[in-house]
């Protein structure tokens, strides 16, 4: 996957002369190359453009300038139908697990939905649901429940299962653990590592927690106000953060872990 000089934003005024007056620009000149099978974590504070970046990759938000390539295909130059076909190779775990699951469907219907769109026959769908629920650790009685009867950890597992069910090669995760307790968070982190070992998808993880990124990513990217300020393996970033923002971020972790508590104030 490849992002070349991407500028993206949301339209605020329709007939303005300049692009920068017409849009509220969120992402400013993002260049990103992700090899297949690589795991990248995107880190930033709220409002820094992490979720917008995922929208651009998902094909939901056309960038103002620049190019997005998935498996060498520039997705925004394709007509809509072909674009959808390319984007089928991407699985997406959305951030808000309360809004992301249809409350009136049972879990097995939720999992079957993406496959029904692909017009697979019933037997294959059932087989696939069985495989995937074994992979993410969903007990079989959960398949007959509706999302509001599930706990937070189970709901997150359903979301991961739904993202993986059509065998995507790229997996996008938007804050997969931020709404969970630490004990359940550890379960999900281990689950995602297992999934990676078995399926080897390209993983792009959005988070604001460096400690989570440490377990789930080979490389981190720190975004501040729509600009990539830091890029590299996490160990290097921890040891010698180049930008001011990354330094304060790393420092704040050590402060919270009470190693160096008086430096901030």
């Amino acid at each position: 996957m490849e992002l070349k000089g991407v500028w993206a934003g949301y339209k605020i005024v329709w007939r303005a002369m300049s692009i920068f007056k017409r849009y509220y620009v969120v992402l400013k000149n993002i260049n990103l190359n992700v090899r297949s099978g690589e795991r990248v974590a995107i880190i930033g504070e709220s409002g820094s453009g992490k979720s917008t970046l995922l929208k651009v990759i998902l094909g939901l938000l056309k960038p103002i300038r620049g190019e997005v390539r998935i498996h060498g295909v520039s997705i925004y130059q394709l007509p809509w139908k072909k674009r959808v076909q390319t984007i089928r190779k991407v699985g997406y775990v959305p951030q808000d697990q309360y809004k992301a699951l249809n409350p009136s469907l049972e879990v097995k219907q939720i999992l079957a939905e993406p496959l029904e769109v692909l017009k697979l026959d019933k037997k294959t769908i059932e087989q696939r649901i069985k495989e995937i629920s074994k992979l993410v650790g969903l007990p079989s009685h959960v398949l007959d429940l509706t999302p509001d009867e599930l706990s937070g950890g189970m709901r997150q597992r359903v979301l991961i299962a739904r993202a993986l069910i059509h065998e995507p090669t790229v997996l996008l995760l938007d804050e997969p653990t931020s709404a969970l307790d630490v004990s359940i968070q550890a379960q999900i982190i281990n689950l995602l590592n297992d999934v990676y070992l078995k399926l080897h998808p390209t993983m792009i993880l959005v988070t604001h927690d460096l400690a989570v990124a440490q377990y789930l990513a080979d490389r981190v990217l720190i975004i501040k106000d729509g600009i990539i300020v830091e890029e590299g393996p996490l160990d290097c970033v921890l040891r010698s953060p180049k930008s001011e923002y990354a330094r304060s971020l790393v420092l704040s972790y050590y402060v919270t872990a009470s190693l160096n508590r008086n430096e901030l104030i």
Partner: protein
Amino acid sequence: MVLAIRAENLKVGYASEEGYVIWATRGVNLEVSEGEALCLVGESGCGKSTIASAIAGVLPPHSITEGRLWIFDRLVIDGPRHRFNGVRGRTVSLIPQNPGTSLNPFITVEDHFYYIVRELHKLNREGARKTALEHLRMVGLNSDVLDKYPHQLSGGMQQRVLIAIALASGARIVVADEPTSSVDANLRAQILALINKLRKELKLTLLLITHDMLSTASVCDKIAVMYAGKIVEVGSTQAVLNKPYHPYTRMLLESIPVLGSKKPLKPLPGEPPSLLEDFSRCPFRDRCPFRADVCEKEPPLVPVNGTGKPHYTMCWRFKEVIEHG
């Protein structure tokens, strides 16, 4: 030492529509001395926010209480009776969980202060503005904030304003209900450092509710770990974090990702029990690697000897737990 908060077998339940009672806390014994900082940790649904609202006196009307709670020698909960008047907001104040929804969007920051100190200290506009400025300075904000509406402030600033409001009442006990759960990592350190600084300057008694065990180590003197409506381990921060006696505390610590150390995460198996379960057995039994036949009975909270400081745990087999690790 004056006891600021003392709870004796405190039970808080919520009546359900079907007529039965769901007990969110099932008999909590707690003692917090004046000027001490206690941290309540636990997973969601373990009853820690219920304890916070019981102490702050903001229990919802459909809640049912048993047991007793004293705040500075004043009996505020005595069985089903509540006597929070004069304590709520004056002696105890609450820093709520969600800064975005806790401020009134229709009034400015100054008005927030005005309505509170008008009731509590009978101050007029001018006096309120002065108090507001004084407390905003304390939390590191300046006078520009006074005339702003909550939506004009960032999340961190809203949280600071809430802390300032909680302090403006002149309360001696501050209950902070997950003050850092909805802010970024960068801000979290700042907010915790701020709470720590203010606590020392004003000699406040602090009750911090959180699910983030490590980040509170720098703030609190004591930690109480809650599980399924009861305190399962309580002791000084150092002792609990370095030498936990209860298997739950131990496993909770092992499941926290720590930056810089690549230890493998050991998540707790299973999920926390529903509060409708039968609690004649040890509630942690099903997830515990140390379970034995004794665990069919619920263990009492017993003192652990050795450290000199009071350290209690609720486990039959705590000696085996310590020997094992």
